[in-house]
Amino acid sequence: MTSTTDRPSTDQPRSLRDRTANSIQRERKDRLVKAALLATVAFALIPLAFILSATAYQGLGAFGWEFLTQPPPANPNEEGGGYGPMVFGTIYMVGLAVLMSVPLGVAAAVFLVEYKESKLVAPIRFFTDVMTGVPSIFVGLFVFSALVIDADLFFGTLPGAVSLAVLMLPIVVRSSEEVLRLVPDDLRNAAYGLGARRRQVVTRVVLPAAGPGLITSAMLAVARGAGETAPLLLTALGGRQLVFELTGRPQTALPLQILDDARGAFQPAIERAWAGAFTLMLLVLLFTVAARVIGRRSQLDGR
């Protein structure tokens, strides 16, 4: 900023509207930076538009009912077929992972919010945050060594689902915690005033009030889990058939087959990979946007 106090007093009296070179320069710089910032935001939205349109454009060719239900052909260089088993595998494993991670995660969030006085709250919250940053491939290695090898389960649905659950758990804890915090203390105090115990307050008042928000957090976790590839590579392994068994047979999933086909050199397989990517994007966006809509409907959203 400029200082005008040291201006010699011999200067002509100057109107406030007169602009010094310095102020013009500062204004020009201001305008330049504003334009640059706007350009940055526009530049960041290009990839989003690019990814959405590219997957839609490239994927719609092979996409359709047949794609969602048929297995891929034995020879990857053949046209036709689809990702039926992969769609099933993804839904199967993500479903199991939700059943494992959501109840545990919500319970952990209840502990973090309702038992603030406990000394355990701070470390648990901190390490939950740290756990969101653990590389997903490392989670895969962990589940591989703990379940596939130590527990002798072989590759399959259950180890895959567990690895997804481990990745989803901190997400569920963090977002459920935010939701539970939004439940007004007045509700809790009213219940306590009626003589309710802490367990009753949580199960009868806090959780029902937070219901829609908790669904939102579960759906965000689903959106994340459905797109995970790296941990499944080491735990579910992948394959081409429909697998119903929980353990003992390698399970496949959408991202696994996309990766497999994308790394190959066969054009028909690459087209299927694009259609698979389109399916995956639909799934993920559907859950992300629906989670947002449900979250907005929630009466607790104070924003």
Binding site: D30, L104, F142, L169
Partner: protein, 305 residues
């Protein structure tokens, strides 16, 4: 009873984290014992063996993968951090109120795109779009060190670009939150002194948020270090200690994913050891960044998780 149950669920996070470290370190121990910590981290010879009886016969020096990981991640940060700061500044200081929420939401949506989709778009489309630019830079700046060599379609720069877009939402989410916490009074005081918008941003908003920007960037760095599938598809999966920005490379995470399926039991131990090294690296970065970021309160939004 109820308290014990919910506390147990909370503790489960700590148990899983501890179990992760114990199970993987135990598996990787023979490799670390044979190579030594220094030999594993700084060795350049990577020649996997095929032993099935638990002995370690190959050579495992992970420097090329570690160097590739750090190199591509830092390049990604050089692209992503200024952009994230710019986005956060625009969204908190300049954007019209009506546009603020939708724009924020769209940037956050980048975090929801699965990494395999990033990899596919990066390898099949972006690689071809960027190739002329790589060639132009490489030819015109050939006098600089590490430039002027071969230009590959899948290379470090492409990997860095894709990674930068992937970590952009998390860095900008943290930075946004930190900027929003700068007291409005201080902005008004600066405006009152005649500062332009940019001067307020620079001398008040950014100045006050330095710690938060560093913390958010490190959070992004942690994500970049551990990213696997997108990198596997765009980096060319070929590790050599070259440091040429337009040549292929390989990261720790991508090497684990690439080699796992055909690996011998001995090699799998070495891959687990690679995983442990990566985990230690990201754990340090994550703990440090969380210590900084958590001082600013809870970071909300889809991108932060």
């Amino acid at each position: 009873m109820f308290r014990a149950f919910v506390a147990g669920c909370g503790l489960l996070v700590l148990v899983i984290l501890a179990w992760m470290i114990i199970a993987t370190t135990r598996d990787a121990l023979p490799v670390f014992e044979k190579e030594g910590i220094v030999g594993f981290f700084l060795g350049t010879e990577w020649a996997p063996g095929n032993a099935r009886d638990g002995t370690i016969t190959g050579e495992y020096g992970a420097l090329e993968f570690l160097a590739g990981t750090i190199y591509v991640s830092i390049m990604a940060m050089i692209i992503a951090v200024p952009m994230a700061i710019g986005i956060a500044l625009y969204l908190t200081e300049l954007a019209p109120r009506r546009l603020r929420k939708p724009l924020t939401y769209m940037v956050d949506l980048l975090a929801a795109v699965p990494s395999v989709v990033y990899g596919l778009v990066g390898a099949k489309i972006l690689a071809g779009v960027m190739l002329p630019l790589w060639n132009a830079i490489n030819d015109n700046l050939a006098f600089l060190p590490f430039l002027g060599g071969t230009v590959r379609v899948n290379n470090l720069s492409l990997g860095a670009l894709v990674l930068a877009i992937m970590v952009l939402p998390i860095i900008s989410a943290v930075t946004r939150e930190v900027f929003a916490q700068v007291p409005i009074d201080e902005r008004h005081a600066a405006f009152g002194l005649g500062a332009t918008r940019w001067e307020v941003m620079r001398h008040v908003v950014i100045h006050r948020s330095r710690a938060g920007i560093v913390g958010g960037s490190m959070l992004g760095l942690g994500r970049a270090l551990g990213e696997t599938i997108a990198v596997l598809l765009v980096l060319g999966a070929n590790s050599r200690l070259l440091f040429e920005p337009f040549n292929t490379s390989q990261t720790v995470a991508a090497q684990i994913a690439a080699a796992f399926k055909e690996a011998s039991p001995e090699y799998i131990r070495a891959l687990v050891a690679l995983g442990v090294a990566l985990f230690v690296l990201t754990l340090i970065v994550n703990v440090l960044s969380r210590l900084v970021v958590n001082r600013f309160g809870n970071i909300t939004g889809d991108a932060s998780i």
